[in-house]
């Protein structure tokens, strides 16, 4: 390095260059400042999510009901899968920090081994996220969407002993498929410059017909039940009126914090406003509830997943450089591994927040 820097006659003076007042190399410092700006980007996204959530505080989907899949088991398994993903990412963070530590001891073999484990951990995480997305996109029950963008889901009003709430019913189980003349228009079968997205599996009428045949079904709206006793005892007439409205249209107005299930009469009325059958999720519709919910899910977990993906790619590059001995020759205690490690830990750090705000809160 000395050969490339010309002498200026100020060596050894405070402003002569070569000083590290913060005791961190240029590269490491810039990695930190990049991470700071990236953290602000993620905060912006999460704060926007918070904004929308507070805006729709009385109707936001309940996370436990949306993310309730676990590989190899049916039924309701909230939380476990994301908890597992969290462990995987934290574990890969640990192998990364072990690689950094081994680098400080100039132990090439150990650095290689731990970098390898880190890459594997990252890959498993990405796979898990793909699985999570698949379930989210496919959906499990299906729902109707109204003109105003409200989601109407279906439940079985017949409750077994020990059930805390009414079970969801899949539209597949009751919709009567009608004869369809309408087929998806494709470019090859008509106007070549016109195309349309895939048609929904059922028409709204199919669902309503099926619903009318099964008297034990009811519609579940997005509205979360407030503390009805508190509203009734309130001095504000608006609160009392609100409580009366809830009690007149919902059968479970007393179940604070749960989605409201309409009475049979109200259900039939609500179905009149339905315009489209929705199953799973895309960027426009989703069966889980508020439209923004799906968008934020895709955008924030997607942005995080993209960070993980970049992290894995960078880790692979560094991994090969370690094997080739590039950092051994630099004789700076594998500082590059430390820098990429900072990025990798940051990805873990962001996931901790995503985990909290999407799955827990």
């Amino acid at each position: 390095m000395e050969a490339t820097v010309s002498n200026t006659g100020t060596e050894g003076k405070v402003w002569g260059g070569g000083n590290q007042p913060l005791k961190a190399s240029y590269g490491k410092m810039m990695m930190w400042f990049f991470l700071l700006s990236d953290a602000l980007t993620f905060s912006g996204f999460l704060a926007a999510y918070g904004f929308s959530r507070f805006k729709f505080i009385d109707s936001w989907p309940i996370a436990d009901e949306v993310y309730n899949h676990f590989p190899g088991s049916h039924g309701d398994n909230p939380m476990y899968f994301v908890a597992l993903m969290t462990f995987i990412l934290i574990a890969s963070s640990v192998t990364m920090v072990l690689a950094v530590d081994a680098g400080h001891h100039m132990d090439k073999k150990k650095v290689t081994f731990y970098m390898f484990l880190t890459i594997i951990g990252g890959a498993i995480f990405l796979g898990s996220q793909a699985w999570e997305w698949t379930n989210f996109i496919k959906g499990s029950y299906g729902a109707l969407e109204t003109k105003g963008g409200q989601i109407l889901q279906f439940v079985d009003t017949h409750m077994e002993e020990g059930d805390e709430k009414m079970h969801r019913v899949s539209v597949d189980d009751f919709a009567t498929a009608s004869h369809k003349d309408r087929v998806q228009h494709e470019r090859k079968s008509g106007l070549w410059f016109v195309s349309e997205p895939a048609l929904p599996e059922y028409s709204v009428q199919d669902v309503i017909t099926g619903f009318n045949h099964k008297k034990h079904l009811a519609v579940r709206t997005q509205e979360l039940m407030p503390n009805i006793e508190q509203l009734k005892a309130s001095d504000d007439p608006a609160d009392v009126a609100k409580a009366a409205r809830f009690e007149s249209i919902y059968v479970n107005a007393d179940q604070t914090g749960q989605k409201g299930v309409l009475t049979r009469a109200e259900s039939e009325k609500a179905l009149k406003n339905a315009v489209v059958y929705v199953k799973g999720a895309n960027l426009i519709h989703n069966e889980y509830g508020n439209r923004l919910f799906g968008d934020f899910f895709f955008f924030i977990t997607g942005f995080h997943g993209f960070h993980v993906f970049s992290g894995v790619v960078i880790n692979i590059i560094i991994f090969f450089n370690v094997i080739l001995g590039t950092y051994d020759r630099r004789k700076n205690n594998y500082e590059m591994v430390e820098k990429v490690g900072l990025y990798w830990h940051f990805v873990d750090l962001v996931w901790v927040f995503v985990f909290t705000f999407f799955y827990l809160v």
Partner: protein, 129 residues
């Protein structure tokens, strides 16, 4: 460069001291896992006391989650990212910049979200049609 000497090996304000950096890493992993288990436990059990009581417009349970998350973030940044070993001025340049800006952003957006929710609920606008 005797790098091991530059690591600060105590966590919890010095109550828990580790013999080597590697040991500290495993110790922190155990701690982070414990917090995650507690979080998941709370998420599944949802104790009634924490769900029914509110503080600053949010359920106590959500406050618990957020505080535990910040604790996790602290240990990831301080021990995995070695902020504990950095010079304090460098550490502050990174951490406080972020905290100030994020706190401001969160305050503004959540305040505004709550306001719009109020307009939507109490105003004469039909949104559920």
């Amino acid at each position: 460069m005797g790098h091991d000497n530059t690591h600060k090996l105590a966590i919890f304000r010095g109550t828990l001291k580790f013999k080597s950096n590697v040991q500290k890493i495993w110790g922190v992993l155990i701690f982070l896992s414990l917090i995650t288990i507690v979080e998941v436990g709370f998420g599944i059990v949802k104790p009634g006391f924490l769900v029914d009581n509110y503080f600053l417009g949010m359920k106590l349970l959500n406050w618990v989650f957020i505080i535990l998350t910040l604790v996790k973030a602290y240990y990831i940044a301080w021990d995995f990212m070695h902020l504990r070993d950095e010079k304090s001025s460098f550490r502050r340049a990174i951490v406080w910049t972020g905290i100030f800006l994020v706190a401001y952003l969160i305050f503004i957006l959540l305040q505004e979200g709550t306001y719009i929710e109020g307009v939507k609920t109490n105003g004469f606008v039909k949104w559920n049609f």
